[in-house]
């Protein structure tokens, strides 16, 4: 029997309506016929993350990673689909129970600066939520903040400083401390090391690895960096233009990518070990999510595209135990 996933998304879609700007509205008065555009940021996405698992989510910019992360974190509502925590649909729960779940899921962002209030002292940034949610009392708060800071490698001496007085790596630690302070079970990291230098990135990744052990955490780790995802994840999810195209155990995915897009990604990425690399790039641009190609979204760039790829979107199906892919090649008769 498979365990109940910790967090599950079922058939989640997200559409953003891009309203008309002033110039377009004026143009319409003159009969230009500009219409509102709809971005399909997520198109029927299903994903389950098991307890204590690290799932890496990879894809190029605009493919919907952050949107998926925000919906998983409960800070954005899906247009369609359901979200389950330990098998229970969250939207059906009483408000208090739903709030408890939202605290269990914390998100850590790419740009630590943009996500930290510049006018708040570090002590308040970290201590505010645990106090508000009754995790600590006012009397315990400063000790609790100091402990949390130490856990993420920050000197509690700096508790009274403001975010701008820290380096990028330290700010990311503040963001992590803020998330940890509410005792989450599940961390969603959205490009959390992308803005950091290699040597600082290694320090933060090590912190994530250590915290995973220390607090038995589960992660959804979003990154465009295949090397980072390969290192950290148990399973990897590949997205392309609003859809999941492949899910596999990390080693299998890197050893034997199934989906042509995954194959292209792995070939195009520079590798430290390679010399005089033949970058063998996949041709073409990433299409606009405003107007995705019909059928398989990857077909205009796919070297294996067949006539039916232009018409029918391949479903994400299990092609081997624990392995999913969305490509017609797997079903060629």
């Amino acid at each position: 029997m498979t365990p109940v996933p910790m967090l599950e998304l079922r058939g989640v879609s997200k559409r953003f309506v891009k309203g008309l700007d002033l110039a377009q509205k004026m143009a319409n008065l003159l009969g230009a016929g500009e219409r509102e555009e709809v971005v399909h940021a997520l198109d029927h996405v299903s994903l389950a993350v098991n307890e204590r698992e690290v799932v890496g989510l990879v894809g190029e910019s605009g493919c919907g990673k952050s949107t998926l992360g925000r919906i998983a974190a409960g800070i954005m509502e899906p247009s369609d689909g359901t979200r389950l925590w330990l098998g229970q649909e969250v939207s059906g729960l009483p408000a208090a129970a739903a709030r408890r779940i939202e605290l269990k899921i914390q998100m850590i962002f790419q740009d630590p600066f943009a996500s930290l209030n510049p006018r708040m002292r570090v002590a308040d940034i970290i201590g505010e939520a645990p106090l508000a949610h009754g995790i600590v009392t006012r009397g315990e708060a400063s000790q609790y903040v100091a402990d949390t800071m130490r856990r993420v490698g920050l000197d509690p001496e700096f508790a009274r400083r403001y975010p701008h007085q820290f380096s990028g790596g330290q700010r990311q630690r503040i963001g992590i401390a803020r998330a940890l302070a509410v005792k989450p079970d599940f961390l969603i990291c959205d490009e959390s090391v992308a803005a950091l230098d290699v040597s600082i990135q290694a320090q933060i990744l090590n912190l994530f690895i250590r915290l995973r052990e220390e607090f038995a955490l589960t992660y959804l780790f979003i990154s465009h960096d295949l090397g980072v995802v390969e290192h950290l994840s148990d399973r990897v999810v590949i997205m392309y233009l609003g859809r999941i195209v492949e899910i596999a155990a990390t080693e299998e995915l890197f050893a034997k990518p199934n989906h042509p897009y995954t194959q292209a990604l792995l070939l195009g990425v520079p590798r430290l070990e390679a010399r005089n690399q033949d970058f063998a790039p996949v041709a073409g641009e990433i299409p606009s999510p405003l107007d995705p190609p019909p059928g398989c979204h990857f077909h205009p760039r796919c070297p294996h595209a067949m006539p039916k790829c232009r018409e029918i979107a391949p479903e994400l199906v299990e092609i081997a135990p624990g392995r999913m892919s969305a490509c017609h090649l797997n079903h060629a008769a």
């Binding site: 230098d197 290694a202 980072v228 195009g268 520079p270 430290l272 005089n276 970058f279 790039p281 641009e285």
Partner: protein, 326 residues
């Protein structure tokens, strides 16, 4: 006898005289780039990569200036040249591309207008043949349907396409040296692969010398023939890509490579360099890496000079790591 290198930088120092003190952004940097060669200039944020690039283009603005050293371009020293001289060289014999292609592109001008102007600024060519050259340059960087693209504006392009157009503009006058400052950092993996592919092809086919500035060791590994590793305004290690990446001799290079996830066992803690890069403002004397270095001793209070640990493999360290010959 070997041909003179396209570029020889000797003991270059570019300092910023700020109110808070002197920032030694580039401090005694030397390297050479030969015809048809790609030199990778790697380092972490603030290590002086871009200011090195700007210095080579005569683009350092006050309060910064080149305070010492020589920039020998095809044997001629460029330090101290007049702005008129620089204008003749820039975009002509030496070209630069940036992380943000809009540093090169003018948003309100059509692509063909910009390209033709660039050609005519340096050569007496009529509009028709200039346009033909512009078209060829777009095709050379892998742009499909160049005729249509010529008539478009930069904002109509994706980021990757804009970067290609910026590269095409840089190539218009067939420069002898191209300086590329993180041109693929903002691009997606598959688009970055396309640009790197074109860059390799260009260096091989045209004999142009290239300096590829990046913080990404993997890009350097796949693209560059030789590498300079910068730390706190200095080149701490230089050599063939294989020497530097596979047999690093400087403790910083070794630590940096060791901290890349692909060099570590999956799921295990990464090797990490402790501490942070130092502020370049009033850097204390001695080796700038010593607060973070596991090999530091009393000798490291004096700044090390660059010494060869193998043919063409230079290291600025009192205690270079043993390098095993390949």
């Amino acid at each position: 006898m070997t041909a003179a290198p396209t570029l020889a930088v000797e003991h270059l120092r570019t300092h910023f005289f700020t109110r808070a003190g002197v920032v030694k952004a580039v401090d005694d940097v030397s390297f050479t780039v030969n015809r048809g060669e790609v030199l990778g200039l790697v380092g972490e944020s603030g290590s002086g990569k871009s200011i090195t690039g700007f210095s080579l283009m005569g683009l350092v603005d006050p309060p910064g200036r080149i305070v010492d050293g020589r920039i020998l371009f095809q044997g001629q020293d460029l330090v101290g040249r007049s702005e008129a001289d620089w204008r003749r060289l820039r975009g002509n014999r030496i070209a630069m591309i940036f992380q943000d292609p809009m540093m090169t592109l003018n948003p309100v001008l059509r692509v063909d207008t910009q390209m033709i102007e660039t050609i005519q600024a340096h050569a007496d060519v009529d509009r028709q043949s200039a346009r033909e050259r512009a078209r060829a340059a777009l095709a050379q960087v892998g742009i499909a349907s160049p005729d249509e693209r010529l008539e478009a504006y930069p904002h109509q392009f994706s980021g990757g396409m804009r970067q290609r157009v910026a590269i095409a503009i840089a190539l218009l006058n067939k420069p002898d040296l191209l300086i590329a400052d993180e041109p693929t950092t903002a691009l997606d993996v598959t688009i970055q692969g396309q640009i790197l592919f074109e860059a390799r092809k260009l260096a091989r086919e045209t004999g142009m010398a290239m300096i590829w500035i990046t913080h990404d060791l993997a890009v350097v590994g796949g693209l560059a023939d030789r590498v300079c590793v910068m730390y706190a305004g200095r080149v701490v290690e230089t050599g063939s890509t294989t020497d530097v990446l596979d047999h690093p001799a400087h403790p910083y290079t070794d630590g940096l490579i060791g901290s890349v996830p692909s060099r570590n066992r999956r799921g295990q803690p990464l090797k990490q360099i402790p501490g942070m890069t130092p502020s370049l403002l009033d850097l204390p004397p001695g080796c700038a890496f010593r607060d973070r270095c596991g090999y530091a001793d009393s000798r490291c209070g004096v700044s090390p000079e660059t010494e060869d640990v193998g043919p063409g493999h230079g290291v600025r360290c009192h205690h270079p790591l043993a390098t095993v010959a390949a």
